[in-house]
């Protein structure tokens, strides 16, 4: 196997980044350990829990399953882009307890909030089903998501 580093360029939270990555490096590790964005968490490392969710071209993506080079030319948005004001509703609703799931939950929730047309076909519990949480029982998560007015969560 060819192990030569690959040079990539991608947008990270609105900033252009250029770096070299190992062909087998996971996007999760590159974010956490090479470009100092440790907010994204690793839970299972096998695509089941969603703790590592980032937005890749706007779609929630398990960064533990994505080779970093696949971010080439694309747009990555991580929890580092989120301000406390963005999540004030979550803070009040009890969306987080231990916090292990929270960075991923927040990213999927932002995708759901940004795409309200999805709610015509799916309910919030389905949209959030890719993010496991062991602490909240999910009500705190669902209640923390800002729906377009007129839509009720449960």
């Amino acid at each position: 196997m060819n192990d030569r580093p690959i040079q990539i360029e991608f947008q990270l939270n609105g900033e252009l980044r250029t770096l070299e990555v190992e062909p087998r490096a996971r996007l999760l590790d590159v974010l956490r350990y090479e470009i100092d964005c440790p907010g994204t968490k690793e839970g299972c490392g096998e695509g089941e829990c969603g703790a590592c969710t980032v937005l890749l071209d706007g779609l929630p993506t398990n960064s533990c399953l994505v080779p970093a080079w696949q971010a080439r030319g694309r747009e990555v948005v991580t929890i580092e882009s989120v301000t406390p004001e963005d999540v004030s509703r979550m803070l009040d609703a009890g969306t987080t307890q231990c916090g292990a799931c929270t960075p991923g939950v927040v990213m999927t929730a932002r995708w759901a909030e940004a795409n309200p047309e999805l709610l015509a076909q799916f309910d919030l519990r389905q949209l959030m089903a890719g993010n496991l949480c062991r602490c909240t029982g999910y009500d705190g998560i669902i209640d923390g998501i800002e729906l377009p007015s007129g839509q009720e969560a449960d």
């Binding site: 299972c44 307890q97 919030l124 519990r125 496991l132 062991r134 029982g137 999910y138 009500d139 705190g140």
Partner: protein
């Protein structure tokens, strides 16, 4: 809250030794420094032990009496749906009433209870630790199934306020409480729906099929 109180009592002992039992914070720190200056080479030691609330008696030799001053209480009501072709069971509604003394922070208390209940629902329907040679063999999220947001209904929690005089700010503990009752409630609901008597959980489709059709073991 027991340990916190012991620490607080030890601090009171310390404060008393350095002059004033009400001292706390930087004032206590300064008084301790002062004490060391005027007692060179001496040690300042404070102690405190757990003290049972009056009337709570426990006999540790015979394991009799009241181990706790007060218990928290809860009631659970589960509604389930079972698909008679696939035998998959689903919890469609869940209600609970909790008496945990005084509720100090309602959002956190509710979240703790809801989280415990969802774990209980998972235990009733999906979660099975398979063991072999002293180790768990399904110890990954690919083969140990826990509930997602789509697998559980909203969890309704009602609190009954009943402040406990000997608890911190009137509270009782709630750590384990929400995990104990939900799985039996879900299992009873499945029993009621199917007219079977489940004795093991989780009530996976395989188990339910065996119970209803009497096949396999």
């Amino acid at each position: 809250m027991v340990v916190g109180k012991i620490l607080d009592n030890a601090c009171t002992d310390l404060a008393t030794q350095v002059g004033d039992r009400a001292l706390r914070g930087t004032a206590l720190r300064d008084a301790i420094r002062e004490w060391h200056r005027s007692h060179p080479d001496e040690e300042l030691v404070a102690e405190a032990e757990y003290e049972r609330p009056p009337g709570v008696v426990w006999d540790d030799d015979n394991y009799r009496g009241a181990a706790c001053g007060a218990f928290a209480w809860a009631a659970y009501l589960a509604e389930v749906e079972v698909d008679l072709r696939t035998y998959s069971a689903r919890c469609t509604a869940f209600h609970s009433v909790q008496e945990i003394g005084h509720v100090i922070n309602e959002t956190l208390a509710r979240g703790q209870i809801q989280g415990g209940i969802v774990r209980g629902i998972g235990w009733a329907l999906f979660e099975e630790c398979r063991l072999r040679d002293g180790a768990m063999i399904n110890n990954q999220l690919t083969n140990y199934i826990i509930p997602t947001s789509a697998d559980v209904p909203p969890i309704d929690v009602v609190f009954l306020e009943n402040p406990y005089a000997d608890g911190a700010l009137g509270a009782k503990g709630i750590g384990e409480l929400p995990l104990d009752g939900p799985a039996p409630a879900v299992a009873n609901a499945v029993a009621d729906a199917l007219g079977v008597e489940p004795l093991d959980i989780p009530l996976t489709p395989e188990r339910l099929m065996q119970l209803v059709e009497g096949v396999g073991t």
